[in-house]
């Protein structure tokens, strides 16, 4: 199979993730969509590694996974704290900084 198709898939996944971040209100789903975008990037990295025949892309994919794991820890903690104080997981309720 032509590896270029993986790139199309990656772009599709990234778009889905981006749309989810922009249009959904539930913080958990927004968060999941962010993860989806990261994984779309991972897919692109791996595909490029395969295309170029070196391991740079795969190494970057591992870095991304580690950063994503850390981000999940911090992000989920923020969401939980937010839910506790606001009794809501909607990102629209996080508007304290607005005038």
């Amino acid at each position: 199979m032509n590896p270029i198709n993986y790139l199309y898939l990656s772009a599709l996944l990234f778009t889905i993730g981006g749309a989810g971040v922009l249009f959904r209100r539930n913080a958990i789903i927004v968060f999941m969509c962010v993860e989806l975008m990261l994984n779309a990037c991972n897919l692109a990295f791996v595909t490029f590694a395969r295309l170029h025949g070196n391991l740079d892309g795969q190494i970057f994919a591992f870095f991304t996974m580690v950063v994503a794991a850390a981000e999940v820890v911090v992000g989920l903690a923020i969401i939980v704290t937010f839910f506790r104080s606001r009794h809501s997981a909607s990102v629209d309720d996080a508007s304290l900084m607005k005038l």
């Binding site: 981006g18 971040v21 922009l22 249009f23 209100r25 990102v91 629209d92 996080a94 508007s95 900084m97 607005k98 005038l99």
Partner: protein
């Protein structure tokens, strides 16, 4: 002797300081301290005069450098004095007449609880005027000039509880500011042109400056002189200045203040000689003021205001003479000195009359006073004869010389100026006779106070306080002695100066002198002057001496009514300057509101409006921020790709 010059100014200044800072504890002796220090100043002046007379003509100028006032780089202003024949003349006049007025004031202000303060101001006035005439540079002269303005303000408004006095003081000060502005600009121009304020270097290089610049300086100096000397168009303050106590009027009109303008023009003679246009302007101002003051003096019923009109007119003579150049300077100063004697005498006489008449100033309510106050009558009468130029008395010698010099200017100008001066002499005779006759001759037009031993015959229902009615009496000696001294001066000063042309020879080294080419002889001028004099006196006698004087003023002709209103000077100032100023400020305010404020407010409003629009972007929804981030990223990527494609 040099260091005495500082003491000359210092004595009255010390007096002013002690009296004004000393407070109430000096109330009992304050007036004598004031008199003493004025007399000390006069004594010093007399000593310096004797010393000066002993020296040869060429070495009579004394200089005294006290200290450097403002030494900044090339800008040097010194407190330094210069005493030459011109300054000496002024010093003797200021301190001599000033001291007499001080002594007179002891009696005149006897019942005023602020007499100490009054003497402090009088001393300040003398000190400022002495500083003015003794300065050896224009900046120090300006300091004295402003000091005179301040002292006159304080003295004119001395009875500041009267709104009219407070207003008159303000008016004098503000009108003087206009003139002061001219003088200060003239001094600045002089400094930028010559790089110094001192008289000697300025006059030495005066002819090297351009004609235009000298004319500008001359006209600005004239503006300054107009303010201080109450010349048209800055004459309006003089009449109102009569609100001050009468000794102040005498001081302002005879010894200090109004003579400052004549001094300035004479002192700056070198500049005026090199600027014929400015010189002609001085002549015209003098001639116009001469007529203006004389006409006003003819119509006033207030004795002090009539005398004020007379002063304006006489100072006009001096300005006219000073504008004639070397043919006139000496006579301007000579008339100034003789005028100092008789005008001081006249004002002190008027004060004495008011003193006896319960401060009544309306001459229509005088009449027949010669029997009640003989000394005042005689001294006032001698002053009167001197001012109209009765042959042999002071005014005759000095005024005739001015008329003659005006003719000697030559050409059409000479005939016009000479004619105006001659006519002025006639009007002078008319208005002074009017004052004299209305005050001392004719029948009584006042209701005398009842004798203390007779019971007042009072109609029931009408309350008459005996104290309110005048009972004319001669003033105390402390007032009459200065009047007698001044009367003696009014009689003999002019003749003394004219013996062997003594005054001309005395002043010539400073001001220069030339005879000019008069189209008429001295005899003809004298004859013509005597004729107009006789006509003026006869007219006034016919009008006020033979016919009874109505107690209420008749309506009078259009000119009389205008002259009573000071020839509409205040109306003119009100319509042109006050209204004009109001319109100007109003339009400026409008411009400020619409243009300046409009621009500022408009900018603020548009920034505010734009910000309000931009605020919509900050809606607090994370998603919309994310969209803008995405959009931004897309734009960046697109731009990068585009750049690469190109």
């Amino acid at each position: 002797m040099d260091h005495l010059i500082g003491a000359l100014v210092g004595a009255p200044l010390l007096g002013a300081g002690v009296l004004l800072a000393g407070g109430r504890r000096l109330d009992r002796a304050g007036h004598w301290i004031g008199c003493l220090l004025a007399a000390v100043s006069f004594a010093l002046g007399a000593a310096l005069f004797a010393d000066m007379l002993g020296k040869p003509t060429g070495q009579r100028t004394l200089t005294s450098h006290l200290f450097s006032w403002v030494p900044v780089g090339g800008f040097r202003a010194d407190v330094a004095f210069q005493l030459d024949q011109l300054s000496m003349t002024f010093v003797l006049l200021i301190t001599g007449v000033g001291t007499l007025i001080h002594i007179y004031s002891v009696g005149y202000m006897a019942h005023d609880e602020n007499r100490r303060r009054f003497f402090g101001y009088l001393n300040l006035f003398l000190a400022a005027m002495l500083l003015l005439v003794l300065a050896n540079n224009y900046l120090l002269l300006y300091a004295g000039w402003e000091g005179v303005g301040l002292a006159s303000y304080l003295l004119i408004g001395f009875w500041q509880h009267k709104p009219s006095a407070a207003t008159a003081a303000k008016k004098a000060f503000i009108v003087n500011r206009v003139g002061d502005m001219g003088l200060s600009i003239a001094i600045m121009v002089l400094f930028t042109t010559f790089g110094t304020f001192s008289f000697a270097p300025v006059f030495a290089h005066a002819t090297s400056a351009s004609q235009a610049k000298l004319t500008v300086v001359g006209l600005l100096l004239l503006l300054g002189a107009c303010g201080k000397s109450a010349q048209v168009p800055l004459q309006s303050w003089l009449g109102d200045a009569m609100e001050g106590p009468t000794p102040v009027s005498a001081l302002i009109h005879a010894a200090t203040m109004v003579t400052a303008g004549v001094y300035l023009v004479t002192r700056s003679g070198v500049i005026f000689n090199a600027a014929p246009t400015a010189q002609l302007a001085v002549c015209v101002v003098g001639a116009v003021t001469l007529m203006f003051g004389a006409i006003v003096g003819c119509a006033k019923d207030d004795i002090k205001k009539a005398l004020a009109g007379s002063t304006m007119s006489q100072i006009g003579y001096m300005m006219l003479a000073a504008g004639l150049g070397p043919i006139g300077y000496v006579f301007a100063i000579m008339h100034l000195v003789t005028h100092g004697f008789f005008k001081a005498g006249l004002f002190l006489g008027a004060g004495s009359v008011m003193h006896g008449m319960n401060d009544e100033v309306d001459m229509r309510k005088y009449g027949g006073l010669r029997g009640y106050m003989p000394i005042t009558y005689v001294t006032f009468g001698l002053g009167y004869l001197a001012i109209i130029g009765f042959p042999g008395l002071s005014g005759f010698w000095s005024k005739d010389k001015i008329i003659e010099a005006a003719f000697a200017k030559g050409g059409t100008e000479g005939w016009i100026l000479g004619g105006v001066a001659l006519l002025g002499a006639g009007i002078t005779a008319y208005y002074m006779t009017r004052v004299m006759v209305m005050t001392f001759f004719g029948e009584r037009r006042w209701q005398p106070a009842p004798e203390p031993d007779t019971a007042p015959s009072v109609e029931p229902g009408i309350e008459v306080h005996p104290g309110d009615l005048p009972h004319p009496h001669e003033s105390p000696k402390v007032m009459t002695i200065p009047m007698i001294v001044l009367a003696v001066g009014s009689v003999f000063a002019g003749g003394l100066f004219s013996i062997n042309s003594a005054f001309v020879k005395w002043l010539q080294p400073v001001t220069g002198h030339s005879e000019g080419h008069s189209p008429v002889t001295t005899g003809e001028v004298t004859a013509a002057t005597l004729v107009v004099l006789a006509v003026g006196v006869a007219l006034a006698w016919a009008q006020y001496g033979r016919a009874p004087v109505p107690v209420t003023a008749p309506r009078g002709s259009l000119l009389t009514r205008a002259a009573r209103r000071d020839l509409l000077q205040d109306d003119f100032n009100h319509v042109v300057l006050v209204r004009g100023g109001e319109h100007l400020t109003r339009s400026l305010v409008y411009l400020d509101h619409s243009l300046v404020d409009g621009a500022v407010n408009g900018t603020a409003a548009s920034v505010g409006g734009l910000s309000a629009r931009l605020r919509q972007v900050q809606n607090g929804y994370v998603r919309s921020y994310a969209v803008s981030m995405l959009g931004g990223t897309a734009v960046l990527v697109a731009a990068t790709l585009l750049m690469r494609a190109v």
